[in-house]
């Protein structure tokens, strides 16, 4: 019992909207974009077959407006909605309303989103399903005595976490029993204001964990497969910045075992479509369920590059009701892939967002390079949305080749108008410990020093000095040197600049 989708609304913006629109186009499905005022000329708006205006720039007035998105869905007569990631992707209410409107939600059932949205409920479910969770409380803790007893039992340091939290908010590490009560209260306040829920709980704090996650696919016929792991331990401010597949520390045996655990996790919550089961792994390679992300992940391309499977197309096939096209043993693992998230941020100013217009954009290409972006030259990075400009993904026959290829690609990446994390990504890829695979989620805090960025380009400085002076002279005091008068003959700008240059030299 399957349907064929003919028209799909993409309830998102930027690179992920572009990514989904591209898959729809390749499948012959009509794509519908939605856009806010500032996104009128954004790539996703221009690339889609149809585009509908949904409101002012703040997401709360546009991309988070369920009513407006459903209005567009009705007006455009779409069959289904793809939520992308972020915005409404993990909002069970949205999934429910889409289904109530008689449309297909390209994602998991609302109940699964809801169950995995609560960290404590997810922990209970996983424990029942036999998936190892980090030792600690299975429900919210309200009284001091329970908290102190629990912390003593699992051993300090402990981590206070918000049940409905995410992104590091409402989270506290406690090493000393006398700080526990105070920290829990602070976490409650933070959680209340950030997530509208004050429930906090405790779990054992893992000292030097690595973040390993498994991509899973589940159909409507009870089949679940995993598509291997991704390692996402390179994070700053609890946000992933560089991801890779496979992980250097996952052996085939561990992969099999963790993959099974991930499938159990998905089955336990009645999961369907694409999802990710996240684990933390300690230095003895013990792994624990962390959470399940009920959507397509930002870093999904590294899985696509190493398996050759287009995850968005699989999402659509699942939503159409088709059984999975692959059996577990048919899932390949070929070579190595790395993704660098290119953010508009000033690394030297502590990763402060950098807004502005992209004045020049020339992304790298050549063998093994994929760039997923939602912006092009002239596009603007505004305060309203996430400052991610693009995702640069490389594939290599092994990890070494992938690293060298990524360094090559980052060096070829020319983008100006805003500051970017390109120099930071280079610093990570050039780091000895990263190259050896010896790292954990504290890598950026411990290994990255901003002085590295000032020292590392040293050998280029003499030539840059000459170039800067010549540029300065050409653009300022000899600025009177206008291009030669129109001759009516088309000449290449490079040639013209060459002529200007030679005139420049002669005219002194």
């Amino acid at each position: 019992m399957s349907t064929h989708l003919k028209k799909v609304l993409v309830a998102n913006r930027a690179e992920i909207a572009v990514r989904v629109i591209r898959a729809l186009r390749e499948l012959g499905i009509t794509s519908v974009a939605v856009y806010s005022d500032v996104d009128r000329v954004a790539l996703h708006t221009r690339l889609a077959d149809e585009a509908y205006y949904i409101g002012p720039p703040p997401a709360i007035d546009s991309y988070l407006r369920i009513d407006r998105i459903l209005d567009v869905a009705r007006k455009a007569k779409v069959d289904a909605i793809h939520p992308g990631y972020g915005f409404l992707a993990e909002n069970p209410e949205f999934a429910r309303q889409v289904e109530n409107a008689g449309l297909i939600f390209i994602g998991p059932p609302a109940d699964a989103i809801e169950a995995m949205g609560s960290k404590t409920r997810a922990r209970q479910m996983m424990k029942e399903a036999g998936v190892r969770v980090i030792p600690g409380a299975m429900e919210g803790i309200t009284d001091d005595k329970t908290a102190l007893d629990m912390a003593k039992q699992i051993g300090y340091p402990v981590l206070v976490k918000a049940a409905m939290g995410g992104g590091g908010k409402g989270m506290r590490v406690v090493s000393d029993p006398k700080d526990l009560i105070h920290s829990m209260e602070a976490a409650r306040r933070e959680s209340k204001s950030a997530f509208g829920d004050a429930t906090v709980y405790l779990e054992k704090y893992l000292e030097n964990p690595r973040h390993i996650e498994f991509q899973i696919l589940a159909d409507h016929h009870g089949n679940v497969i995993h598509l291997n792991e991704r390692e996402c331990s390179i994070q700053r401010r609890h946000q992933k910045v560089i991801e890779e597949a496979p992980s250097v520390i996952v052996t085939p045996e561990i992969r099999r075992e963790m993959g099974e655990a991930a499938k159990q996790a998905a089955q336990a919550c009645g999961y369907r479509n694409a999802g990710t089961v996240e684990f933390l792994m300690d230095k003895h390679r013990n792994y624990y369920f962390l959470e399940m992300n009920t959507r397509l992940q930002v870093e999904h391309p590294v899985t696509e590059m190493t398996t050759g499977i287009d995850l968005v197309k699989e999402q659509i096939a699942i939503a159409e009701g088709h059984p999975l096209r692959f059996k577990q043993r048919e899932i390949p693992l070929r070579g190595h892939a790395i993704e660098c998230r290119i953010y508009a941020e000033d690394v030297l100013a502590g990763f402060l967002p950098s807004t502005g217009r992209i004045t020049y954009l020339n992304p790298p290409d050549g063998p093994g390079i994929r760039e997923d972006t939602g912006i092009n030259e002239g596009g603007e990075i505004t305060i309203h949305y996430d400052p991610m400009i693009s995702k640069l993904i490389v594939w290599g026959s092994d990890r070494h080749e992938a690293i060298e290829r990524m360094i090559r690609a980052l060096r070829e990446y020319h983008l100006t108008g805003v500051k970017t994390t390109i120099p930071f990504c280079l610093a990570v890829l050039e780091n000895e410990k990263f190259r050896k695979g010896e790292f954990d989620t504290h890598f950026v805090d411990q290994e990255f020093h901003s002085t590295y960025l000032e020292e590392t380009g040293k050998q280029l400085e003499p030539a840059i000095a000459v170039g800067a002076l010549l540029y300065h002279l050409r653009m300022t005091q000899r600025g009177s040197l206008k291009p030669p008068p129109e001759t009516g003959v088309q000449i290449s700008p490079w040639k013209m600049q060459g002529r200007r240059a030679s005139m420049d030299r002669l005219s002194t």
């Binding site: 402060l352 996430d386 060096r411 100006t416 380009g457 000459v466 002076l469 240059a501």
Partner: protein, 188 residues
């Protein structure tokens, strides 16, 4: 060429100091030999071309080929080359001498204004007028792109004036706060 001969009489070698990430490089231009320069005393040949965007530069310096992007900014120039960023100040000898004289003369700014580096909203103000602050101390928190960013003091000093209020929207470059730097003599 006659013109070359003429210029040679009153114009000879121009010396420039290019400072990149705090390191100085001396570049000399000899107007009589237009494709040569001296970099830190060493003679080199160059050929520079620009693209459709004039900021897109290709330089061949003694047969070393280098492609970079360069833009003017408040301090001087910013270049991006091979994934690295370079902050550049270009000065001729005279300007540099003048600047060092001014510096030696104790010409110091008496106030320092803290400006918003991006548009956003003031979430909280962590100091009050009259407060003494240390370099690196948080002054206020501005929210942009769903992230809270603490703006830190660039120097030791005293808060003279606060120009914004909590929940106020600020534009890029807008003045947030004025600091009076501590006179260097006090520093132990």
């Amino acid at each position: 060429m006659l013109r070359g001969v003429l210029t040679r009489q009153h114009d000879e070698i121009m010396t420039y100091i290019i400072t990149i990430n705090g390191r100085p490089y001396e570049v000399e231009l000899d107007e009589s030999s237009p494709s040569n320069i001296r970099l830190n005393g060493e003679q080199m040949t160059f050929d520079m071309r620009q693209g459709v965007h004039p900021q897109n530069v290709s330089l061949i310096l003694d047969n070393q080929s280098l492609m970079f992007w360069i833009e003017k900014n408040e301090e001087g120039y910013h270049a991006h080359c091979q994934g690295r960023d370079f902050n550049i100040v270009v000065e001729d000898e005279k300007t540099r001498q003048l600047r060092s004289v001014l510096k030696a003369g104790g010409e110091k700014s008496t106030v320092s204004s803290i400006k918003a580096s991006m548009p956003g909203m003031v979430v909280r103000i962590l100091v009050q007028p009259g407060d003494r602050v240390r370099k690196g101390q948080g002054l206020l928190i501005v929210e942009a792109m769903k992230m809270e960013n603490e703006i830190k003091s660039p120097l030791n000093g005293t808060v003279k004036q606060i120009r914004v209020a909590p929940l106020e929207a600020v534009e890029k470059g807008e003045m947030l706060l004025i600091l009076e730097p501590e006179s260097t003599g006090d520093e132990k």
